[in-house]
Subunit: 146 residues, 2 copies
DNA sequence: TTCTTTGCAAAGCTTTTGCATCTCG
DNA sequence: CGAGATGCAAAAGCTTTGCAAAGAA
């Protein structure tokens, strides 16, 4: 899936340089290991590219994109929020506590159980956050080598 | 389970007034619907009790208690962290988006699946956070009545 | 006494907001 | 041209830290 100017326009957002740059950043990131970016990471990367954007604009654009459904926001255990390109399919996360690597997964069993639990408590489920924290294989091997 | 002065001492923490007050607050809260308190809520409640503590002390004590395993910290979707009396048994949460009510649950199936998923990705699982968000029955009825 | 703890004030971070200026359409 | 977007600076939370005074053991 590739987003461009027309997608912004159809969302009622003008196709400005900051917005296009930020969208491009996330599309590039989606192809790498590091799909998740914080506001400050976006800001820094834009600055490195020589782009003259303000941090406030980054925050505003990220929020707009999230509302528009283009990006998804996460909090994980950290202080600052991170965003990833919002694909239609929901997924949960597995984070390495040592290197920060993030894997994504979906498990239909867990999804189903969640629905059952919500019903049992009389809740209508809106959404959920599930994040597993551990140490990845590479980090374990690195640790063992020392 | 009831904590007191001796528990603080065995943790290497002196039994001071602020610490005992805060511990008592959480023990009282554990008996109610509202087991989860933010630093500011703790601070306000202490102030209401006429206790002259500083907010910084509240933060320091909460952190010490968390490290000691007396309290457990959560972030949920909000900006500020909340704490609850840390029972030995792990549990996950179900939060009402409208009234803020928090239910707790444990599901062995989900726990097991999480282990399996972590293994599949080569991770050694350390911990996880699972939080379901929805609307509780009471709120739905309240909404329907309007 | 001695080491810990506290309260206050100040500082740190992340995020938001006010406002004059600029720009897309 | 005109509504919307931007950058900067200031402000607004939440949380941490420095430090002198107070307190526990």
């Amino acid at each position: 899936m590739k987003y461009d100017q027309s997608d912004l326009k159809s969302l009622g957002l003008k196709a400005t340089a900051p917005r296009l740059r930020i969208l491009a950043l996330f599309q590039k990131a989606a192809l790498t290991e590091k799909r998740h970016l914080t506001a400050d990471e976006v800001f820094s990367q834009l600055r490195e590219e020589g782009e003259d954007v303000g941090l406030a604009t980054v925050y505003r654009v990220l929020t707009q994109f999230e509302v528009a459904g283009l990006l998804r926001r996460h909090h994980f255990d950290t202080e600052s929020a991170s965003y990833e390109l919002g694909e239609p399919e929901h997924h949960d996360h597995l984070v390495c506590l040592q290197c920060g690597k993030i894997e994504e997964f979906v498990d239909v069993d867990i999804e189903r159980r969640q629905q059952e639990i919500a019903s049992r408590f009389g809740f209508t489920l809106d959404h959920h956050t599930l994040c597993l924290y551990g140490i990845c294989k590479e980090c374990r091997e690195k640790n063992a080598a020392k």
